[in-house]
Amino acid sequence: MAIETEPGTLQHPGGGEPTGAKDTRAWWQRPAIHTGVLGAVIGYLVGYYLGRAISANYQQISTSDAHDIAIVLGFLFLVIGWLVGLGVFNDLLRHMAGRPMPDTEKTNGDAAGVARYFRVTLDHKVVGIQYLIGMIIYFCTAGLLAMGIRTELLSPVHHVFSSSTYIELVGEHGTMMMMLMTSVILGPFGNYLIPLMIGSKRVAFPRVEALSFWLTPAAFLILLAAIPLGGFHMGWTGYPTLSVQDTSGADAYAFAFGLMGISMVLAGFNILVTVICYRAPGMRWSRLPMFVWGILGTSVMMTLAAPILSGGMYMLLTDRTVQTAFFTDNLGGSTYLFQNLFWFFGHPEVYILALPGFGIVNEILPVFTRKPLFAYKVAAAGMVGVALLSFFVWQHHLFDSGINPNMRPLFMLTTEMISIPTGFIFLVGMGTLWKAKIRFSVPMLFALALFFNFLIGGVSGVFVSDTGADTTEHGSFFVMAHFHYTIMGGLIFAFMGGCYYWLPKMMGIKLNEKLGKWHFWLMFLAFNSTFLPLFAVGWLGQPRRVFEYALRLQGLNDWVSISSYVLGFSILLFVINFVWSTVVTRDRETGNPWDARGLEWQVPSPPPVHNFEHIPVVLSGPYEYGDPDAPPVADLNPPVGVLVGALASAETEESEA
């Protein structure tokens, strides 16, 4: 399956012809973000007034004064207008009309300048950078909302925000974080690096990949639109019947989250097919970099779990607009239905947020210990094991909800079993450190911090998976601290490590090392100082999402709030470092600064438009450090006959089979 023919035809992204018309229009005449915004505004107005016209005579609309139908239709047409304006459908229409496709690579890919980053492109490297910038912006927005939450919690008596605003902040923070975290590593690093790591010139479905990114700005802006619509007051979990009852902001929540689900399916599906079908000759499953394994597992979970989310959100929207009753008990629906749908997505999602982080640390550790990855197969098995088991644990979120009690021991067992494959990752990390030559560069510091944080996060996970102990911990700050340890302490630390490690590859620019160390130490200490006390706060009886709490807990809460400001400052240091290095100083770093063996490091930085001049032939695994006899990782200029021969033998095998 991993065999490809010579480049030029099949590996040409988008299927355009090299002789196709070259787009020579000025930037503002071509579809890009500004035409997208125009399309979105027109779309929203069209949809909104269409909805007003349709629902003009509904009594429920006039009494409640909430135009949910108009708002949801407005959002729907907004997304369509946004995509049309961006030109997402242009190639499709051209193809249907039988007109020649433009040479997308010449016109979109290697067109220099920043304009290409504001357009729909077929170059996975451009999409990767788009994702990177987008995710950093979303992350900072959601982080600022968290500062708002902590500011309110400075005092249990005096309030900065009204209780309504406070719950809006909580919901916006949670939903935005959960939406972006699914793609924070898969989006930028997955899209950018997977083809480079597996020796491919392209991804399988470049248009799907571009679409997956361009849905995210729409999703995030619609989510933020909940604030002017009155906010939503049911947190990121959006449990009915509260979410059916809530003001129009809840439409924005359900629509945005469902839309992000679609983006996740598209992103995951593209990467899944790319990894399976576009590996270079010699890139066996046993030579696949661990990062690719991690992203592969993530993609499987995303492709299978996210449709449930989109479906659930769609049902919620119909409940809110056309008054179906999927989730209303006394009309024959069930609130449990939503809880099951939500967590059937929600728990795989938690591991969607863990695997990419594991992948990154497993990628970083061998480079900075100068040793092969310890127990490669165990690491891969850990990734696959987590991905599979993640679909069988969701009801542990419902231990106290009144579901069938017989289910509890079963879900306790599956939940606790997931620590076995997670333990594999620790075994691999610890084995790789054994008798190593550790270099404490910034990416390595972040990778090591992940083990520290994830250990605390994982062990606290065992506490909440035990049904007895969970009676006290469920829905308290203990759970909140637990998943911040795994998501922020795991995924975001890995993301930061990935940024410091791969930015020289992706942008040809090295981030400032000294500022990076400051960033790391400040972030590591402030993170632990913020979230470690929250375990105690939860154990002492403070539920999540409250703005009033016991007076005796004010000391701990104030400590946490102040630490969270320091944590916010450390993220600001990263943003300053990032912006300063990429926009102002631009220290060029074109080689292989970490002396890494990974295939992605064997091409210049940043990689040329076609990634590889020829499809490489992979000769050995990516982690063969310390082995003087190991062959180079790949032959970048394989003799012509190699590929043809490989292809011929593959065909013979096929005909024999």
């Binding site: 008596v157 925000f161 209780s163 003001t247």
Partner: protein, 230 residues
Amino acid sequence: MSLPARLGTLLAAFLVVVGGAIFVVIHYLLGGPPTVDYAAGVTPDSGHVVKVYLQEDPQTTIGNRPDWVSYFIQDPKTHKWVHTTLFQVPAGSTIDVTILGYDGCTPLRNPYWGKVTGTTGNVEYVNGKATPVLNSWGQCSVGHTFSIPGIGLNVPVASPTTLAANNSLCSTSPCTSGPHTTVTFSFKSPTTAGSYFWQCRVPCGLGYLDGFGGPMQTIGYMTGQMEVVS
């Protein structure tokens, strides 16, 4: 792009982002209805009596949307009705409350809240008549409630009882005429300063599931805060 151009773009983008964030915070996150101050110029002592006037209005077509059922509070200085549900009282005082009930009746979701609790003598005075319990299911009797759970106060606000009155409710808020009841009661404000939320317990969010959306969950309509200052 040249370095000055890059720096200029960066600065412009930075200013736009900061400006946008400040606008959102001030306009959407910190905004809200005003607070009517009944504590100004009062030196709290145990014998002090504060007179608070509220009215609850039916769903009318007032200028500002949404046109939900709503409480109004009278400003003690100007005697104007303010569209808010936030008011401030001194700690440890006797609060005499008068509520003008202009809205029609609706059954309580839980009839238990038809019992008056937390007031002096555990009664309210409906048009001057002492009343300990209102039956909202059996009679057309309760328009809304005024409940402060933090101090155990629960007062069902009586509504006009006749069919004719319920079909000719006042149509412009704040109401000045039309069928209504006058409910009075008094309670002691807490001795410790802080915010105490109050709410209505009648499912009057018309068109919302359980009748508990819209006005019931929007500060300035059917729920608000009593700020106790010492």
